[in-house]
């Protein structure tokens, strides 16, 4: 009895010891990787310690000078909220940004809608078509949209068009994959019915598959719209339109108050759009079930 317990305990200790060894080795590996990456990215404790006060100073300057007594006064009084947000054109740019995101989502979604059926394993007419479409969509979505924007600014000129196309291409790749996965989970019996009644492949997709997958498509497209609003807010950094261009300018020229005003506007707009689109998404998905 006691011998059995002792054997058990020895086995337990051995196992605990080997586990501990693996943990220590893992941490040593992690530590070495951290040291190496700190060396490569010049993030030594000393440089971080030197940088942090400057970070604090910089973000401290972004805080607007608001005064309690003048908080609600007109845009001409220094220290009021209206004075902080006095630049009306940034509101317009915010609207432009959201419209860019909407147009890009629409365009990318349309391309994704056309490509997702041949890219679904259960609908593609043969293996080659499936592979070609899948790889093409992958290629579209793995290149970041800002890289597309950098290139398109050369081809289409500075302005929103380059940004819209860049975001739309990235969106087509991302949504195409998601759409194809939804289609792969669709029930194929309605399609068999349509085909048996003499319908073509296109008619089958339209009348048997599309009604099943449309709510999910809409939900994914709205989710993508939220992502694209964030993307469109920075794509102007490379000259592709939207509020990012203005933000880049005010950050470069150190107009501290305007930086924080624009940042607050962006965060507010993004959260509002997120909230609204979340409600719509829940409504769309709720109606389906």
């Amino acid at each position: 009895m006691s011998a059995a317990t002792a054997g058990l305990e020895a086995a337990f200790l051995r196992r605990a010891g080997s586990r501990r060894l693996a943990t220590v080795a893992g941490f040593a590996l992690l530590g070495a990787a951290l040291l190496a990456s700190a060396w490569v990215s010049e993030a030594w404790p000393s440089s971080i310690a030197a940088g942090l006060p400057r970070v604090g100073e910089y973000f401290g300057k972004l805080v607007p000078d608001l005064r309690w007594d003048a908080l609600l006064a007109g845009p001409r009084t220094e220290g009021s909220i209206a004075f902080w947000f006095y630049r009306l054109d940034s509101w317009l740019l915010l609207f432009e940004t959201s419209q860019m995101a909407a147009l890009a989502t629409l365009g990318g979604g349309a391309v994704a809608l056309l490509c997702c059926f041949p890219a679904a394993a259960n609908l593609a007419s043969n293996r080659v078509v499936y592979t070609v479409f899948r790889r093409a969509l992958e290629l579209l979505r793995t290149v970041p949209d800002i890289v597309y924007a950098l290139i398109f600014v050369w081809a289409f000129g500075i302005g929103p068009l380059a940004g819209i196309l860049a975001i739309a291409i990235h969106t087509a790749g991302a949504l195409g994959k998601l759409f194809a996965e939804v289609v792969e989970n669709a029930d194929l019996r309605p399609l068999d019915g349509v085909r048996a009644a003499g319908g073509t492949w296109a008619q089958g997709v339209r009348y048997a598959i599309l009604p099943q997958v449309l709510p999910n498509f809409l939900s994914y497209a709205l989710l993508r719209f939220e992502i694209n609003v964030r993307g469109a807010s920075v794509i102007g950094f490379v000259g592709a339109g939207g509020i990012g261009q203005e933000l880049y300018t005010v950050i470069s020229f150190n107009y501290y108050q305007e930086i924080s005003a624009i940042l607050v506007l962006i965060v507010l707009a993004v959260s509002l759009i997120d909230l609204a689109s979340e409600r719509v998404r829940h409504a769309v998905i709720g109606r389906e079930s």
């Binding site: 490569v40 010049e42 993030a43 940088g51 970070v55 910089y58 398109f152 950050i251 962006i266």
Partner: protein, 281 residues
């Protein structure tokens, strides 16, 4: 025959009167549909006008793009191999350091944001809203601000990735903590363990695998982000791309893009292996 046909028609008319919706949309719905379509087309036209999207401009742009694409083939590394490789290494290092720091700092923040750890509703709500606010800003914005604060270079990129990721991870951690089974914590507290002990032995073993998996996913996504942060001067391979686009060395641009794609795929593969090894699924 005529009589049979007449009966048929009247049957249809009767059905149509009884169940108008089965024969297509009502006139009102049809009108609404047309109005919606008209509004949509009007919106599109307005946007095209506003953004100056004309067929001529699209055609010119597409032909320009075609020229660029032709210049991209064949991709070539140019003679600055070392710079490109250093940029790539910088990007991966920035992503690794930023994600690791964020993953560690997000643990206490996630505890603060979890409803079952911080019971005060107001505190929990405000912590969550602060996370949301941080997530509303893209990493590139943080990078641009940090470049102004600490100067050009990868340190700004590390700080940007860290700041943007810490809010995301804190929210995910908070959700993992809220989804944890409370019985184990209750057991430790019932056996006389302190709150801290309950968190260490009742909560952490449940949530640690989830947290590790989230951190690895964050690393994969941050490698993608770190590849472009250089566009605003925050170090990494993005700087190499932006510089070569400025001087229109399109073959080198294509080479760097391909290099990024391959490295991202490699890192995803490696991170997937680590994830399966650590959490077993």
């Amino acid at each position: 025959m005529t009589s049979a046909r007449g009966a048929h028609d009247s049957d249809i008319a009767a059905y149509r009167a009884r169940m108008p919706r089965a024969f297509g949309p009502t006139p009102l719905a049809r009108a609404l549909r047309w109005i919606g379509a008209a509004l949509f087309v009007a919106w599109l036209a307005l946007l095209c006008r506003w953004f100056d999207i004309t067929p001529a401009r699209l055609e010119r742009g597409l032909s320009g793009l075609w020229v660029i694409l032709r210049l991209m083939i064949p991709p070539s590394p140019g003679d600055q191999w070392a710079d490109i490789l250093r940029g790539l290494g910088e990007s991966v290092a920035m992503a690794f350091l930023g994600t690791t720091l964020a993953a560690v700092v997000a643990i206490p923040l996630g505890l603060l944001g979890a409803r079952n750890v911080v019971v005060n509703a107001l505190a929990h709500f405000s912590v969550r809203r602060v996370f949301d606010g941080f997530r509303g800003m893209d990493q590139l914005i943080w990078a641009l601000a940090f470049v102004r604060a600490v100067g050009l270079g990868p340190l700004a990129g590390v700080l940007a990735l860290f700041t943007a990721e810490v809010a995301v991870l804190a929210k995910l951690y908070a959700e993992a903590i809220e989804n944890a089974d409370p019985k184990q914590r209750e057991g430790i507290e019932a056996a006389g363990g302190s709150r801290l002990l309950a968190i260490r032995f009742g909560l952490l073993p449940q949530v640690l695998p989830v947290m590790l998996a989230q951190a690895l996913y964050a690393f994969e996504s941050n490698v993608r982000s770190a590849a472009i942060l250089g566009v605003v001067g925050a170090g990494g391979i993005g700087l190499q791309i932006a510089e070569r686009i400025k001087v229109r060395y399109w073959d080198q641009v294509a080479f760097i893009i391909l290099l990024i794609l391959v490295s991202v795929a490699l890192i995803d593969w490696a991170s997937g292996k680590v994830r399966r090894r650590l959490i077993g699924s």
